[in-house]
Symmetry: C2
DNA sequence: AAAACTGCAACTACAATGGTTACAGTTTAG
DNA sequence: CTAAACTGTAACCATTGTAGTTGCAGTTTT
């Protein structure tokens, strides 16, 4: 399958927060921009808080705000916070150990998959939230 | 989410076929090596046939065989045959066009995601079935 | 004619995704 | 000090994807 929309939504949210880093944005407000429901937003926010990308404030006028400057947050940080450990699913059921192929294939594919995933994450590490924000703002000129 | 085990299973199958390129392997035999059921194998085979990586033979002593030499089949070919078009899921529901962020973010993320996926596919393109087979055979010395 | 296959449809079980409701707890404004 | 606006989280639902299973028509070899 594919990388969850959680990742896409998380970036969307964080870019939104970066538009005014001193403001707390409510999950309801964010949900309207993303066009989804506030609970889904709060679930993702929960992951982002754990990864120390966002801080939240309870109560009236509360909400979420960036925990770090947008220049310091890369898309890889967001990816790590929202996506599971490994991108590739190895075998659903353990291969047959009586078969040459079954015995040896897992570690070999594992290392190729790790290499491929690293190539992907390196690209994500090269882009910061601030750059995405900048592109969005240029787009509207 | 993550990349389906279909991809992993497809590689497993093809490496198995590469052990003897002149033989037809039945879906039952392949299923035993992968430790799954023959129908699941035939469903994946169907995709591989469409991608011209495999030919099948009906009847007694029939089964599947590589349609190309193992040296010419890369993991990227297998990836393309078994995985959907795009790895990343953009928004589940369309973002709010009344929001600066909602309007502009999709194409920007789209191009970053394309770049990231290309980095991944380039790694997959560098490995052929023959190389995986070679590693498996070395492994058992 | 029997046996060994593919190809495919139909049905099932299970897990993941995202939407919805509900509610306890926190904070601010009045 | 109470009402309102928030977060955080659990519970439940609908939908979809994944993989397993059964069944059967059609093909090929013996």
């Amino acid at each position: 399958m594919s990388i969850n929309s959680r990742f896409t939504v998380a970036i969307h949210m964080l870019v939104l927060l970066s538009l005014n880093e001193n403001k707390y944005y409510s999950s309801k407000f964010i949900a309207q921009s993303v066009n989804t429901n506030p609970v889904f937003i709060r679930r993702i926010l929960s992951s982002l808080v754990k990864a120390n990308l966002v801080t939240t404030q309870l109560g009236v006028e509360g909400g979420a705000s960036l925990a770090q400057p947008a220049e310091q947050i890369t898309l890889l940080d967001v990816y790590r916070a929202t996506e599971p450990e490994s991108l590739f699913t190895l075998h659903h059921s353990e291969p047959n150990m009586h078969c040459l192929c079954g015995r040896a294939i897992k570690p070999i594919l594992g290392s190729i998959f790790t290499e491929a995933e690293m190539a992907l994450t390196q690209v994500l590490a090269q882009t910061t939230l601030a750059e995405v924000k900048q592109q969005i703002q240029n787009n509207t000129l």
